[in-house]
Symmetry: C4
Subunit: 280 residues, 4 copies
C-alpha cells in the first residue's frame, strides 16, 4: 500500500497551456440532487467548477436550479426529466458524476439505467452515494463502457461488496474489485481513505475529523471530476483529488473546529495554485 | 444561582475523535419556518450546521427550500407536508428543534401534535417560539417521551407559566417547572438569560444589546441543537450553547453597533476552535 | 440653510440600553417591490435591518420572497396580496416605507390607498419612488394621520410639486411643502441633498458621484426607517440617515470607482459603531 | 495592428462628474439566459452593474429572476415573454446586450428578430453567443440601425464568417467585416483577443489561461456594455473593456490556479478606481 503525499499534486497539477480555451479543460456533467437532497448536487457541481473544469453542468430536479445559480451562475442547469437535453449533454461530457443525493426511488433507478449505458469508452463516470445503494439493491455491476470510479463510504461498500466493515481488508476489497471491469477505481472513504485499482492500493495521509459533516463526500466527487476533466489520467487525478480534498479541510481546520464543504470548495483555486507544478 | 463562564466551553467542546464520521456528530432536525417566517427555520438550521452537527435537516414550508440551499447546500430539506418523510427523519434524529417561525395556525398545531408523541426517550426536543405559544393556548404540557428544552423569552414564558414578567422570580419559575417532566430544561431568555433544571439555576454572564434583533432566538435553538448532537449531555451542552451565542455576539459588537444572526452564525466554527478543550 | 455634519450621527446614535430586547429598537414594515423591481424592496428592507431596526418585514410580490431570504433570513416576508396579514403588520409597525419599486399600475395605487389611511399619529411613513409618482398623477396629498417623510429625487419632486428642476429653490420648495401637514419632512435627493421641515432647511455635505447607481434611493429609505425605529425623533433621525448613507458611500469610494447599494448596506453596522455617541 | 495597453483604461475611465445622477451613467439592457443557460444572463448583467452602468436590466426567462436578485438586487428584471415591457425598456436603453445563453430555439430567433429592428442609431447593441450562431444559421446580417458590436469566439466567427479558424487572418477578417455596416466592431475572442473596426485592428496583450472557464465571454459582454453606457465612444470603450476583463483575470491568477467570472466581476470597482485617469 502506497501513501499519497503532496507530491501527487505537483505531479498532476500542470501549468495551463497558454493557447487554450474552456474546452481544453474538459466538460463535467453532474447528475445529482433530488428535491430533498438538492444540496448534494450543488456541492458536487460547485466542486467541479472550483477545481477548474472548463464547463460544468448540473442535471437535477428543477427545484434546485435557482439555488445553484444563486451561488454559481457559471454552472449550467438541466432538468433531469428532459431526456433529450440530458442525452445531448451526456454525449459531449468528458466526465460524468452520478449519485450524490440522487435518492433511491424508481425514478432514480431509471435515471441510472438510462445514463450508464449511454456512455462510451472515452468517458469516465464517478458513481457515488444513492447510485451505489441502488446498484447494491439490484445486485448489478453497471452496464457501461465508461471507466468507472466508485466512491463509497464503508457502509455503502458493505452493501455493494457484501463485506461487513471489519472484513474490509485490502485483500478482500481487491478480490471484490476483480469482478468489476479492469480499469475501475475504488475510492473507499474512511478516516484514511483507500484507493484501489487492480493490484494497486493507495492510502491518503491527510484529513481531519473537523471534516466529518454532511456533503463532504459529494464535494469529493466534484473534485475528482474536475481533476480528470483537466488532467485526464484517471488514477493519478483521483489520487490528487482525494489528497487535495483532505488538504483543504486540514488547512481550514487550523483555525476552525469544524469545516463546511462550501468553505473547502472556495479554497480550491488558491490551494491548486500553491501546490501546482512550478518546475517549468 | 451559578454564573456561566468561558469554562463551560472548555469543558463541553472536546477535540473530535480521529476515527469518526458524520454520524458521530449527531443528526439534527429543525421543524420550523412558515411562508412568512421562513427565515427563522433557515437561521435555526444554519446555526446547528455551523455548530458542527454531523447532519442537519430542515422540515419547513416548501417556499423556503431555495433560500436555504442558496446559503447552505449542506442542509437537507423536507417539505413538512410530507408525513412519511418527516416521520422517517424524526425517528433517526438525535435532536429535534420545533417552533421557530412555525406560526400559530391549525396546521402548526397539528404538526406539533404529530411530532412530539413520536419522539423517544433517547431524543432531545427543543421547543421554541410559536410552539410555546401554541402550548400555552392549549394549556398543555406536551405528550412526549423526549427530554424537553424550552426556550421562551419572558413574554412567552408569561403565556406558558401564567407568571407575569415581574413575577418571574427564580423560585416561582422553579415551581412552575416542577409540573414538567423532571429532566426538562428551561432557558428563559432575557438580558442575562437564566437556565433551569430541577433545583439547578444558572445565569449567563455575557451578551450585549447589539444582539437585540429578530432571529437571535432562532439562532440560539440551532446552537443548542448542534451542541447536544455532538456532545450529548443536554444540560452542560445547553449552558455552553447559551454562553457561546452571547460570546459570539459580544465579539462582533466590539466593532459593530448591531449584530446580525447570520454574522454570529458564521463566527461559530472559529470561536469553538478558540475555546475548545486544549488540555490533551 | 444648515449644513449637516458628522455631529448629527454622534447626537442621534446613542449607546443601546443594556436592558433591552428587539422590541426596544422598533418595527419597520417596507411595502415595496413589484415583480420587475423586486430588488428595490429587498434593498430598502435590508438597509433597515442593517441600520439596526429590531424587527423588519417586507411586504411585496411573492416572487421576491426567496431572493430576500437568500440574503437576509432575518427579514420577515408578507405577500402583499394578503390583506389581513398586511393590516395586522401595519398596525404594529413603528415606521412604514412605501414606494420603492412599487410600480404605477392599478394594484400599486390601490395598495397605497389601503396602507396610508390605516396609519395612526404615532406612526411614521416614508413615501418614496413610484408612490410619489402615483400621488402626483392623482394630484393628491395622502389621507393619513402618520407623519410623512417624502423622499423624491428632483424629477419626482417636479411631478409632485409642479416645480421644474431649475425652479426648485429653497423658497419655492418651502411654499409647496406648506400645503402638506405641518410635520411632513421633505428629503429632496440631489448632488447635495436638502431636507425640509416647516421653516427648517438642511443640506447634506457628503456624497460622491460613485454612488450614482440604481437602488441608492431605495437604500436611503431603509436607513431612514431604521434610524427612526431606534431613535424615534424623525427629523434628527432623518438627517442622520442622509448623512450616514452618503458617508458610507464616500468611505467605499476611497478605493472603488463605483459603489453598490449592497456594499453600502453591509458597512452600516461598523460605521454606526464608529460614529456613535461615546461620551458616556 | 495596435497593441492595447493599460493606457486605454486611463484614457477611457474619467473621474465621474460631481453633478450627476444614475441616468448620467447610462442604461443597459441585457437580453439573455434561457432556463438552461440562465447563469449567462446573470453574469452579463452583473458585469454591466459592477462596471458602473447607471441602471441595468436583465430580460430573461422568468426562472432566472430569483437567482439574479439573490446576488444583485440592484438589477431590474423583465420576463422576456412580456413584449410590451420589453419594448418600453428597449427604447430607453443606451446599450443592449443580446445573446449570452439565449439558446438557438425558435423563441430565441423570434426574440432576436423582435429586438434588433427596434433599435435606433443612437443605441449600441452587443451581439454574442447564441445570437451569433442564430445569425450564422440564417445567413443574415441583422436588420438594425444600432451600432453593432460582435463578440464571437473563433468557432462562432467560423460559423458567421465561413472562415475556418486557420483562415482567420487579419486581412480575411477585415474583408468579411466590410459586408457589415461601417461602424460595426468585431471582438474576436482568443488567446490574444483581436478587435476590428473598418481598417483598424487592435490586439489585447493581457489574459491568462486561468480564465478559460464557462461564463468568461458572457462577462466580457457586460463589461463592454457598462463601459459604453458610461463613457459613450464605443471603440475606445470596447478596447478598455477587453483590457480590463483580462487584467482582472490576470490579477486574480496571481494567487489562483483558475479564475471564476463571479470573482472577476467583484474586482471591477476597485480595478477601475486603480486605473482611472488621475491627471485632474
Amino acid at each position: 500500500m502506497k501513501q499519497i503525499s503532496a507530491a501527487i499534486l505537483k505531479s498532476v497539477i500542470q501549468p495551463r497551456p497558454q493557447e487554450s480555451h474552456k474546452g481544453t479543460f474538459g466538460r463535467v456533467l453532474v447528475v445529482a440532487g433530488s428535491a430533498t437532497y438538492g444540496g448534494a448536487g450543488i456541492m458536487s457541481a460547485s466542486a467541479a467548477l472550483l477545481t477548474g473544469a472548463g464547463l460544468t453542468t448540473l442535471a437535477s430536479d428543477p427545484v434546485n436550479r435557482t439555488a445553484l445559480h444563486s451561488q454559481h451562475p457559471e454552472i449550467m442547469f438541466i432538468d433531469w426529466h428532459d431526456d433529450s437535453l440530458l442525452r445531448t449533454t451526456l454525449v459531449t461530457s468528458d466526465v460524468v458524476v452520478i449519485g450524490p443525493g440522487l435518492g433511491v426511488d424508481d425514478f432514480a433507478w431509471q435515471l441510472l439505467q438510462r445514463v450508464l449505458p449511454q456512455l462510451s469508452e472515452q468517458q469516465v463516470v464517478i458513481i457515488d452515494g444513492s447510485a451505489l445503494t441502488l446498484l447494491a439493491e439490484h445486485h448489478e455491476i453497471p452496464d457501461t463502457k465508461a471507466q468507472m470510479i466508485l466512491t463509497p463510504h464503508q457502509e455503502e461498500w458493505h452493501r455493494l461488496s457484501q463485506l461487513a466493515i471489519p472484513s474490509q481488508s485490502i485483500t478482500a476489497n481487491q478480490q471484490v474489485l476483480q469482478k468489476w471491469p479492469a480499469k475501475t477505481i475504488l475510492v473507499l472513504k474512511q478516516h484514511r481513505t483507500e484507493i484501489y485499482q487492480q493490484t494497486d492500493v493507495y492510502q491518503n495521509t491527510t484529513g481531519v475529523a473537523a471534516m466529518a459533516t454532511g456533503g463532504m463526500g459529494d464535494t469529493l466527487t466534484g473534485i475528482i471530476a474536475g481533476m480528470i476533466a483537466q488532467f485526464k489520467k484517471p488514477l493519478p487525478a483521483t489520487l490528487a483529488a482525494v489528497y487535495l480534498h483532505s488538504l483543504a479541510g486540514q488547512e481550514l481546520a487550523r483555525q476552525q473546529y469544524l469545516v463546511l464543504p462550501s468553505q473547502l470548495i472556495a479554497m480550491l483555486p488558491h490551494l491548486m495554485w500553491q501546490y501546482q507544478d512550478r518546475s517549468n
